[in-house]
Amino acid sequence: MDLALVIQTALNGLANGALYAVIAAGFVLVYRATSVVNFAIAEFMLIGAYLTYTMSLFFPLLLAILLALPLAFIFGVLVERGFVRPLLGRNVVAVIMATIGLAATLDGATLILWGPDQKAMGAADISQLPKEMPNLAFSLGGVFLSSKAVWSLILALPLAILLVLALKYSRYGVLLRAVSESETAALAMGINAPRVVAVAWGISAVMATIGGAFLAGAAGGGGPGHHLILLGLIVFPVAILGGFDSVPGAVVAGLLIGLIEAFSQLYLESLLPGITQAIPFLIVLLVLLFRPYGLFGQHRIERV
């Protein structure tokens, strides 16, 4: 076994996994805050990626991503205020159908706003070379890491970890966990629950934008397109493996699935073509069968 190749594969897996982690952490955050399964998470990624693309037409890519984040936050808050809040407290099936409807609406909106063609970051048309982040690619002892992988490791991974720490230790994190338990009890204690929930949606959109901007070029072409919607489905196996209501779980599960995908690509893909795409969903089946609470699912406190 080539140790350098194993290390390189592991680092690439972690880099991709960090992106899954960051998106899934935002997805789970919204679930924790509102008990809403956001089936439009892939469209959040898509919108984030298109916002980044639009910014990248005028600014360097790194700055474009940073400028897209506040816009994404506002978008998330608007979705919560205009769409989710009126639905809270309704039948869970109605809310699920509504978020599926939201996904279709956002999908259509991106088609109208940005057209059906795939874009190249920072380029007016797809035939031009996309803009890239400053090159951080490096090779050390036979281990090569692409610039994109390094950027996802230094941007996405710390962001996901920061969210976990903020949720545990910050004032907002405590308030969000309180609201997620009982909005009524939180209101009775003077906690501005609607604002806490809206911020959770905003953060979720920011996280999806980071993931979307980095994954945009994953299918080639160097920019966003509707292929992102399929890529966004990875959020569900990651969230389920993590326990669905655990943000740390989502981060760990994202990294794990990234690693498993990378090693599957290296060792299994030649034997079973297509297995790499299928593996996260096979993991979901196993998790649902043997550990329905996932890796870090919240254990219910029952007093007897």
Binding site: R171, A178, T184, A188
Partner: protein
């Protein structure tokens, strides 16, 4: 100090269930009043209405008014009502079960400066040493009495002027109930709070309140001082299990016959 006035309040749930049918009550500044009554009398609905939480239960004020220090609040959202100094401890001991004791206190006192929060948290831990011992444990693992103490501590951190407490004795032993009432009384006197206490345990409530309202089926059917309530034969029969000849079935028939509405 703050006073609360409820006049001819009618509350409806889901547009059809009339839970309060013209309730009037008053708690003067620094006064302690009790709302007594059986299940379904509308006591908790009144608590929700006072604290602005009716929309959370799909309820709304149909008619009448609630005023805090003269300011009408019955159309205000819960957050605005809490800003006026009203804190409600709802029924069922609604602590945040997955948060530790310290985190529960932090959530409740989120508006305070760190310095003020520390002062009050120290006071709470002095009043309730058991909470200090269990400060890193999740609220869901506390005993019923400890959870009630935690709720009182959380309420204290909101620096209320009016404290509305719904059935604090529910599920507690007589000794713990006595302890909770003692603490409530102590807090009220120390902080100059106006206290609205909802209870089914009339004997416990009488020990700390000045005035009593008895509710039945969404109406107030008795109003008087704690002494007057204790001297009233009907109140004593209904809520303190006064002697009724003929055993349990006779008592039930007697109760049906004597319904106030």
């Amino acid at each position: 100090m703050a006073e609360i006035n409820v006049e001819n309040l009618k509350v409806v749930y889901r547009g059809v269930i009339l839970a309060l049918q013209g309730v009037s009550m008053r708690a003067g500044a620094g006064e302690a009043v009790a709302l007594l009554g059986p299940n379904g009398a509308g006591k908790s609905t009144l608590v929700r209405a006072i604290s602005g939480l009716l929309p959370q239960y799909d309820g709304r004020v149909l008619d009448g008014k609630i005023a805090i220090n003269g300011q009408e609040t019955h159309h205000l959202p819960a957050l605005k009502v809490t800003e006026l100094g009203v804190t409600a401890i709802l029924e069922g001991r609604p602590i945040f079960r997955y948060l530790t004791v310290i985190e529960n206190l932090r959530a409740a006192g989120h508006k305070l400066t760190p310095q003020r929060h520390k002062e009050l948290a120290d006071e709470i831990f002095t009043r309730f040493p058991r909470l200090y011992e269990r400060r890193f444990e999740q609220g869901g693992y506390l005993s019923g009495g400890e959870q009630q103490m935690l709720l009182l501590g959380m309420a204290l951190l909101t620096e209320p002027k009016i404290l509305v407490v719904d059935e604090p004795s529910l599920g507690l032993s007589p000794k713990l109930t006595e302890e909770v009432m003692r603490v409530l009384d102590e807090l009220r006197r120390d902080k100059g709070l106006t206290l609205v206490l909802v209870e089914q345990n009339a004997r416990a409530a009488f020990s700390i309140v000045e005035r009593v309202y008895v509710m039945e089926q969404g109406r107030v059917v008795f109003e008087g001082t704690a002494q007057e309530a204790q001297a009233d034969a009907d109140v004593m029969e209904f809520y303190l299990g006064g002697a009724v000849a003929g055993g349990f079935s006779e008592a039930k028939r007697y109760r049906r016959r004597k319904r106030w509405v």
